[in-house]
Symmetry: C2
Subunit: 338 residues, 2 copies
């Protein structure tokens, strides 16, 4: 079998062309963008198209029932899929759920899992529109999220960054990774150390409002934010996907990190900044804007932090050094927590 997601995608690309008259944006971004016929023939193409993303959440790969409460499982499965909509600056339309249930799941567990999912669904105004159900050897949830452009009619893509653009981050990096490592080490959720880290791993919040806001900011010269994606596999892995052919100089120190990230990795004798960049399941947003448009972005979203500058030279340099390690690949086996 393929040993990495990249290997697998090469196999997919060999069999399936990544285009078609109805496919405005194919595989390789946070979402695909599809245009029904009426949207293709109309003038407001983006406004009548929809975007879609799928996200699998599999027991033993993405979560363990030993430390995820059932409601956490339901919440996180939907949150991860919704975060892909946030990464396009899209507004949720709804979602479909395919659920594989093992023999040993109880009525109560199922009920609480669906309640956790329903709570987020209601809050995001993202109704469940369908799905499928099967028995199976493990608990697995496949969530398909649908979205559409907000009032501006714009959906934001990857690979739009130009040399000189500022790189912006909305949300924490490394926090969910600290939570994962702590939970894997302790093997249960009854730990009261690192509460923010554990919450970030069990109950990530998709940044729908922030993504939508970023896609709506218009300057006299055009949209203020030119590119956007969600950081779900770690900045080290996702940043090159965001940049495409260009590179970046990152400027990050301990002050840019959540206090628990700095303390957690320091206590393990690891460099907190490097650990945060390795990250994984951050569900933060990464955006780029030209220096002229940056002030407007920061005025609308003051919580966005400038973490670097896009460079014509390829590769990513951290504080003038080089980022070597790659981030989180769900296809690879998880590392040991302790």
């Amino acid at each position: 079998m393929p040993t990495s997601e990249q290997d697998f995608l090469s196999v997919i690309d060999r069999h399936f062309p990544n285009r078609g008259e109805r496919v405005l944006l194919g595989r390789g971004d946070d979402c695909a963008i599809i245009a029904p016929a009426a949207a293709r023939s109309g003038t407001a193409q983006n406004a009548a198209s929809f975007c879609v993303s799928t996200d699998m959440f599999v027991e033993g790969v993405h979560f363990r029932r030993s430390y995820f409460a059932p409601a956490d499982i339901g919440h996180k499965a939907l949150a991860a899929a919704a975060s892909d909509l946030a990464g396009m600056g899209a507004e949720p339309l709804g979602f479909a759920l395919s659920l594989m249930l093992p023999e040993d799941i109880s009525d109560d567990e199922l009920d609480q899992m669906l309640a956790g999912m329903a709570e987020l669904s209601l809050r995001l105004d993202m109704p469940l529109i369908g799905g499928d159900l099967s028995r199976g050897p493990a608990l697995a949830l496949d969530v398909v999220a649908f979205g559409q452009a907000g009032p501006s009619g714009r959906l934001l893509r990857r690979c739009q960054a130009k040399p000189g653009d500022s790189l912006l981050l909305v949300g924490e990096i490394g926090l969910a990774r600290a939570g994962l490592l702590e939970l894997e080490c302790k093997g249960c959720c009854e730990t009261d150390t690192w509460p923010a880290a554990i919450h970030a791993h069990l109950r990530p919040e998709p940044r729908i409002a922030e993504g939508l806001a970023l896609a709506q900011i218009l300057t006299p010269e055009g949209p203020a934010v030119s590119g956007l994606m969600d950081v779900s596999d770690g900045l080290a892995r996702d940043l090159p996907r965001f940049l495409g052919p260009v590179g970046a100089d990152l400027c990050l120190d301990g002050d840019d990190l959540h206090p628990e990230v700095a303390a957690f990795f320091s206590a393990r004798g690891q460099d907190p900044v490097e650990a945060a960049i390795l990250g994984g399941e951050d569900y933060a947003l990464l955006a780029c804007a030209s220096p002229q448009r940056l002030p407007m972005v920061l005025a609308v979203l003051p919580q966005a932090r400038v973490i670097g500058t896009v460079s014509a030279a390829p590769g990513v340099r951290l504080n003038s050094g080089a980022v070597l390690r790659q981030g989180f690949d769900h296809f690879a086996k998880p590392e040991d927590g302790c």
Copy 2:
């Protein structure tokens, strides 16, 4: 855990409202119909909306690798999802694939599986637009099919039948069930008896062209076909879903069945008509039309067969008796093949 799909759907309905301003048709039909904002505000609502359906295909539940060639697995996973589009009279837009791969799948198996899927994808003009990938304890494929209305702008729903309407069937019933029983009994695909039945089980063909054709037929009084669905869980289970509050008198004898269905079940000492109605995974289409419009439907689709009449009295009667048994529930354990 819930013991039937119906139990499970009740749990879902308790947690998730089945409506929303963007949801033109919610859970409970072959597909949901979703309208992006531009479609909601426009006049040609159906033309700018899209329909979506998901279908899980899980090793040990829906297929076995002992008698499904890898290409059959890829083909059938996509065919089953596409059949839900056929059941709305929709035209395919594309599909997403979430794939759970076990450790023991080889590069060759994966390659052939994707080749089988790609062949059907190309033939249906239904591009792969995205998906997700995970390791997992079994091979599982979750296919999300997207479609749109054809040139007429119409998508056909269930629960539209009126007393006096003719019930029409396009495709064979019971044939795939005979194939399943034969394959489960023999445990491998190297059997040359019942070739049509085995082909129907391993390589079902979604009736996209027929569904689309049925949705386009217009008489001076309006659309000729008022309701449509795909028969995937057996006629005995799907017909009540199609009828809703009304009933039906079915007229079916051995001549209405594929010769292999009649011979296979007769050889097992079973009533072929009853076995065919129990069916499962037929991927046939069930439609209704008023007697006045029936000739036009049969002129366009001469392979459609009239199998009964809709009645005001609820319940389904077979050749003036009663249909008691229910069809195939993927949630239940499969019966023994021999």
